[in-house]
Each structure stands twice: as structure tokens, then as C-alpha cells.
């Protein structure tokens, strides 16, 4: 289908070229003056290290492994996230734990190791979607640079403490020993 292109008829004033040039220069001068009297924070550019954009809800940044209030990890090492991960950056080693199995006769599962290779992670959020326990969240941190490759391997305790400061939680570096059962199974 052809489109008939309308040819713009220039007036004699436009054909002199001088008047349109002056119009254009008025526009650029307007921009110049406006920017000259606008302070830097009020301009369009975000001056990055000093100013940061507000991160919208639903942003997928650095992961956090959630914990219960007592500090127990929510993750049950079901490997759903590891399976879902398209970049294959999650690796989990599960362990059985409990002192409850003696008293109550069942065992729980938790990750002994839970590491995310941040060099491979594409922050797609599939792990968050796959998790049946809501144990892994992708949150708002995006400045994940490091000076060496090893620093980009986030382990279990790194991931559990990623947002500790932001949320005002305590840094933890070992699994608390549960003293009371979280759920009671009627035997």
C-alpha cells in the first residue's frame, strides 16, 4: 500500500532560510537559559553517585534469603529454585537437621550451603516465583560490583544478611537451634 507523502509547501519566509534558523536558535536559547537557571539536582540528569533514582516496587535486585523471627532460615532446601534457575547460578546442599527428631520423631530439611553465583545471575526472579516457602526474595539493591570474582559468590550467610542493615535486623552467621517446634504434628 502506497502512502502519498504530503510535500510541505514552504512560505517565502521559510524559503529565505533565515527566519527558520532564527526560530531554531530561539528554541535552543530557551533550553540554554532554562538549564542555566536550573540547579543541577533539578535537571533531567540524575547525577548518579550523589543522586539515586527511587527504585520502583517489583524491582528485581539482589536476593535475600528470608528468615523467621527467631532467625531460622525459611528455606527448606527443596531445590525448586535451583531447578527453575535459567542461568544455573544457584547451588544448594541440603542437610537434615533437628534435635526434634529425638523428641518428636521428625526431621526437617534446610540448606547446609546455599550459594548464588552473582556473575551468572541474571536477576530474572524465577527463583522467587518457584519458591514454595517465600524464602528467597529479589529486592532493591543493584550495586553488586566487586574487585574479584570470588567476592561475587554469595553464600548462605551472605544471602541471609543482604538486607539486614536496611531492615534493621541482626546479622546472623549460624543457624539457631530451635528449642520449640514450629509446628506440632499430632502423633
Amino acid at each position: 500500500m502506497g502512502v502519498i507523502v504530503k510535500k510541505v509547501e514552504l512560505t517565502w519566509l521559510d524559503r529565505t532560510y533565515v527566519w527558520p534558523v532564527l526560530q531554531g536558535m530561539a528554541i535552543t536559547f530557551g533550553h540554554f537559559i532554562r538549564n542555566l537557571f536550573t540547579t543541577t539536582p533539578n535537571r533531567y540528569t540524575v547525577q548518579y553517585p550523589e543522586m539515586k533514582r527511587e527504585i520502583p516496587d517489583g524491582y528485581r535486585g539482589l536476593h535475600e534469603l528470608k528468615r523467621f523471627e527467631g532467625g531460622e532460615i525459611k528455606c527448606v532446601a527443596c531445590f525448586m529454585c535451583q531447578e527453575a534457575c535459567p542461568a544455573r547460578c544457584i547451588s544448594i546442599e541440603a542437610e537434615e537437621f533437628s534435635d526434634l527428631n529425638i523428641t518428636q520423631g521428625f526431621q526437617e530439611k534446610r540448606p547446609a550451603k546455599f550459594s548464588i553465583d552473582m556473575l551468572r545471575c541474571i536477576c530474572c526472579g524465577m527463583c522467587e516465583e518457584a519458591c514454595p516457602k517465600d524464602a528467597i526474595w529479589l529486592r532493591k539493591d543493584y550495586e553488586l560490583a566487586a574487585y574479584d570474582r570470588l567476592s561475587m559468590q554469595y553464600g548462605k550467610w551472605d544471602l541471609m544478611n543482604t538486607y539486614s542493615d536496611a531492615d534493621g535486623k541482626a546479622h546472623i552467621n549460624q543457624d539457631p537451634t530451635p528449642s520449640v517446634p514450629r509446628r506440632t504434628i499430632a502423633l
Binding site: G24, T28, H31, F32, N35, T45
Partner: protein, 353 residues
Amino acid sequence: MDKLASLLHTSPATAWMVVKVIIVFSAVMLLASVWTWVERRGSAMIQDRIGPNRAALFGKIRIIGLAQLLADGIKFFFKEDLVPAEANKGLFWLAPFLAFVPALMGFAIIPFGRSFVSGGVTYHLSVLDPGNGMGMLYPLAIGGMAVYGVLVAAWSSNNKWSILGGMRASATMVSYEIGISLAVIAIFMSANGYDPSDVIKAQGHTPWTWFVVRQPLGFLVFFTCMFAETNRLPFDFAEGESEIVAGFNTEYGSMKFSLLALAEYSHLMTASALIATLYFGGWQVPFVKDPTVMLSVASFVLKLLFFAWVFVWVRWTLPRFRYDQLMHLGWKVMLPLSMANLVFHAWRMSQGH
């Protein structure tokens, strides 16, 4: 001045000359390097950006990015100075100087303030005193030399894109110099002389007797042609990143490139000074009959800076012309217009105006 002269074992005239040369050329070079910053910040503001504002002295003192000049200079000094293997090495080294020196030399004739008498001696505030016989012909001739630097840079690089840029620049220069010359001849006729002091005297201190009002057509032609002469957008055919890589300075790097860039800005300063002198009354202060020396210098510098700013402003407003449009404009529009301007003013003079 006498004290300084006896200190240096020279005559006062020589000392005065040396002082003038140092002041004028260092001022122009300083302005030219500052203008690289003005161009970058100005363009940023025109385009709603921020521009270079990070460079800081000792990592602390950010003077709205002015330290960028120093940073650039240091960077250029310490970069590797590459000469292409197949280049004509002698000319390759010579070209930046051939571009830079004429750009500065043109400024020598421009009076940047009114002459004054001190101790029975008249001091003229221009490097070449009035009545030297060259007058305004000198900057025009030197301006024609400026394209030589571009062409030699292009030729010696032994690069087809460079040579295309150089050829285009020289063709532009040839086409537009005719327009400039005819526009300036109309001024010479009205001013009854071609010495810059004559031209300034003929314009007087009232803005409506300046040549921009008396010869608006001539001003339009001269102003447009100056953009072609200085190789600035919209007529910067020596360069053209979308067509011929970077044009004439494709093969240049480090200090030689810096010198070519500085040459462009010095040329811009000279062109602004010419526009101010020929059409805007030079050092004349509007509505002040006999300004003091400092006032006249300030007036001239203000005009100079304004037109230098206009060069920047126009560059970031208008896109580059196509080459055939440039030739069309030069030969079919600018030349007839300046011719008509010349004939009109000749006719007016014959009618006794």
C-alpha cells in the same frame, strides 16, 4: 613602559610591542582553550544535559568543571603520539602548526581598544599599528592560509577519508571567500579606507550607524561565510563523522590533535573579532562618545565573547549541510547577494549618500 624598556635594554616602542604580542596571543589562546569547555557545557545545556562538571582540582575543588581544561591538556600531553607508517612525516608534523599559526596571526590587526596618548607618545591597542598599509586585507589573506593547515593535515595523513575532508574544506573556502571579499569591499567603500581604525571610526558610537544596520545584507553574507571560513557547523566539511570518519584529523592524536582543535577555536576567536570590528563598531561603546581605554577594551571583549558564543550556539542548533547544498548556497546565493550588496552601496555612494 619606559621603566620596563630600560629594564630590558630595549626601546619603549619595542617593549610595548612585545607586551602587546604577549597579552593578545596569550589571551586568545586562553580564550580558545576555555572555549572548548564553553562549547561542551553550552551544548550540554542546549540539549538538556549537564556536561563536564566532574573534573576537580586535587579531587576537591570543582569549579563548575573548568578543571576539565587542565585534565584534557594533561591527557593530551601524555598520550602516545602516533604517526601513521605511510604518512608524509614532515608535513604530518608541520600541519598542526600550519593550522594554528594563521588562526592566531589574523588577530594581529584587530584593534581591541581605543588608542591613547601617554607622555607624548600614542599607544595603539592592536599588535599591528594602524597605517601599516595592510589593513583588513591582512586577516582575509591570513584566513585564506588557514585552510592550508587543514589540507596539509589531510594530505600528509595518507588516508582517503582525511583527503576527502581536506578537499571539501578547501573547496568550501574557495567558494565562500568570494562572498566574504565582496561583502567586505562594500564596507571599505562606506568606511572610505580599509584600515580597521578607519572602519571603526566610520561606524561611530551609535548602534544605528554601525555597519550591521547600514549593510544588513552584507552582514548576513559575511556572518554566514565566516562559518564556512572557520570550518564550523553548519559548514564544517573538513570533518563529518557520518560521512568521512573524522575527516582531516582522523589520523591525529595526542598533542597534535589538541593543537588542531585549538586552531579551530583560535580561528573562531579571530572570526568573532572580525565580525565585531567590521559590523559592530569594534571597540566603540554604544552611546558613549569618548570612552575610557578600559571601557573600550571591555566593550570589544564583550562583543568578541558574544559572537564566539553565537558560533557555539549556531553549531548546536543547525545540522550540517549536504555538500551540494553548501555549493549551491555559496555560489548561487551568497555570491549574488554580496554582489547585489556591493552594487547597491556603490549606487548609493554615487547618489551622494
